[in-house]
């Protein structure tokens, strides 16, 4: 990975391009890159930033453009397919009167990026209310999708309780993964340590465009949802793509940063939000966020602990926090309140009976859960 100050100026440029704010010749800065073009190009491709970079250089640096074109064109083609699938899904859900809130890539690509093809997508994510989920599942089956069984460690009953998701793939094979989410926030970290206002988020959701059935989160909620997604996934899964989403949203949308900070605190996500937003500010720039960052900044000891795991440098270096030895302490360090972190740890080892039934089946006992933990070496 390139180790120059150059990186932050490149990332800021890409965010300006993403938000449609860059000068047409701004991409000429790539010509100043002192290293091998291939090294930086490959890094941009790995971070899912190739489409943005290609858009930055296509008129001013043809040699760079040709290196980035395959990834850029591939992402554009994939996005065409995803948005076509969204059309079908949206029409069916509208017919069946199933409200849906788009999340993640499809939502931010359409809302914040000047061109949706700048934002690579791997699937479609839609939040559906609990009561509507059975009909949503049937609607997808009617469209020719089959439900993916998912991981044995994440059965459907557990997905429902953890705010997880149900996966669907086309019956005929090929690409086109659709995920129906029980919540905009997934996983046990949120369930055990935080208190997001999900009804409020749903109420504030707006149509993705006038007359459209599909909704998206309000901008401030989308900022928090994206932030938490990056944090609870331990900055894995192309973290710079997620941070770029935040930076583009900060440039393209009128974010009420005071609301973002207030909600993060009220929902007990302040430390996680600060860690991610601070990294985005330092790596890419987050216009208008300074006051919110000040409001969210943890104590010095808490900051030191969080930075033991994640810094802008470790993000650029691609440090993998998903190994159990790092992941669990990191998730504990993210909790706003110590007692919530203690509960997270305690329940991971000694969960409630209803959790065990959802995870292992109705006849399973606590000790079978403990043995399963020991066998897998993970929680």
């Amino acid at each position: 990975m390139p180790r120059l100050r150059f990186e932050t100026s490149i990332l800021a440029l890409l965010a300006d391009v993403g938000a449609g704010r860059a000068r047409p010749d701004a991409g000429a800065v790539f010509a100043s890159w002192p290293g091998e073009p291939g090294e930086l190009s490959e890094w941009l491709v790995r971070q899912d930033l190739a489409p943005l970079a290609h858009a930055s250089v296509r008129t001013v640096a043809p040699a760079w453009a040709s290196r980035l074109a395959p990834a850029a064109f591939g992402a554009a083609a994939a996005n065409l397919a995803h948005f076509k699938a969204l059309d079908r899904l949206e029409r069916r859900f509208e017919t069946e009167r199933i409200p849906m809130v788009l999340l993640k890539g499809a939502a931010v690509a359409g809302r914040a990026y000047a061109d949706a093809s700048y934002r690579p997508m791997t699937d479609l994510d839609a939040w559906v209310r609990d009561d509507d989920m059975p009909r949503a599942v049937e609607a997808l089956r009617g469209l020719g999708f089959r439900q993916d069984g998912g991981l044995a460690t994440r059965p459907e009953a557990l997905q429902r309780l953890s705010g997880g998701e149900l996966l669907f793939r086309p019956e005929r094979g090929g690409h086109g993964l659709i995920e129906l989410h029980f919540s905009p926030f997934q996983g046990w970290w949120v369930q055990r340590t935080s208190a997001p206002d999900l009804p409020g988020m749903w109420r504030r959701a707006v149509a993705i465009a006038p007359g459209r059935h599909a909704m998206r989160l309000a901008d401030d909620d989308a900022m928090l949802q994206t932030t938490l997604h990056i944090a609870v996934n331990q900055f894995g899964q192309a973290p710079l793509r997620g941070l770029m989403d935040l930076a583009v949203m900060a440039r393209a949308c009128a974010i009420d940063w005071a609301s973002v900070a207030e909600r993060a605190v009220a929902w007990r996500m302040a430390q996680a939000a600060w860690l991610v937003l601070d990294a985005a500010e330092r790596l890419i720039g987050m216009p208008g966020s300074r006051t919110a960052l000040s409001a969210l900044r943890p104590t010095l000891p808490a900051r030191a602990l969080l930075h033991a795991f994640v810094t802008p440098e470790t993000i650029l270096d691609g440090r993998d926090l998903r190994r159990p030895a790092l992941r669990h302490p990191f998730m504990l360090a993210l909790a706003d309140r110590r007692r919530d972190g203690a509960r997270l740890l305690g329940r991971a080892i000694w969960p409630e009976p209803w959790w065990i039934a959802a995870r292992h089946g109705p006849s399973a006992g606590r000790w079978s859960h403990v043995m399963d933990l020991l066998r897998r070496g993970d929680v």
């Binding site: 296509r58 074109a69 064109f73 554009a76 083609a77 397919a81 076509k84 093809s117 690409h175």
Partner: protein
């Protein structure tokens, strides 16, 4: 040549198009294969889709490109034949 000058070509129904700042990408949803068009290919595609016949597309392109008209027509038919072979376009028999 597989398409007469007087005939019109249209995109096959399973094909999606995306402009890429002058270049373009075509996605065949049926085969899940995509193709890139360079700036000239993208311009030819635009004109073929916008014109009532191949001849009309050629007439517009003759105004834009300095190449000899016959050479331009040859290049246009190279693209048409390749797009037909891959089922990305069809002759509009309506």
């Amino acid at each position: 040549m597989t398409v007469a000058l007087t005939e019109r070509v249209v995109a096959s129904p399973q094909v999606l198009f995306k402009d890429m700042g002058g270049e373009a990408v075509l996605l065949d949803l049926g085969t899940e294969t995509y193709f890139g068009l360079n700036e000239t290919g993208a311009r030819f595609w635009h004109q073929l889709m916008a014109s009532p016949s191949v001849a009309d597309a050629w007439a517009v392109l003759r105004e834009e490109y300095e190449a000899a008209p016959e050479r331009l027509l040859d290049d246009l038919y190279v693209l048409i034949d390749e797009l037909l072979e891959r089922d990305l376009i069809r002759v509009d028999r309506a």
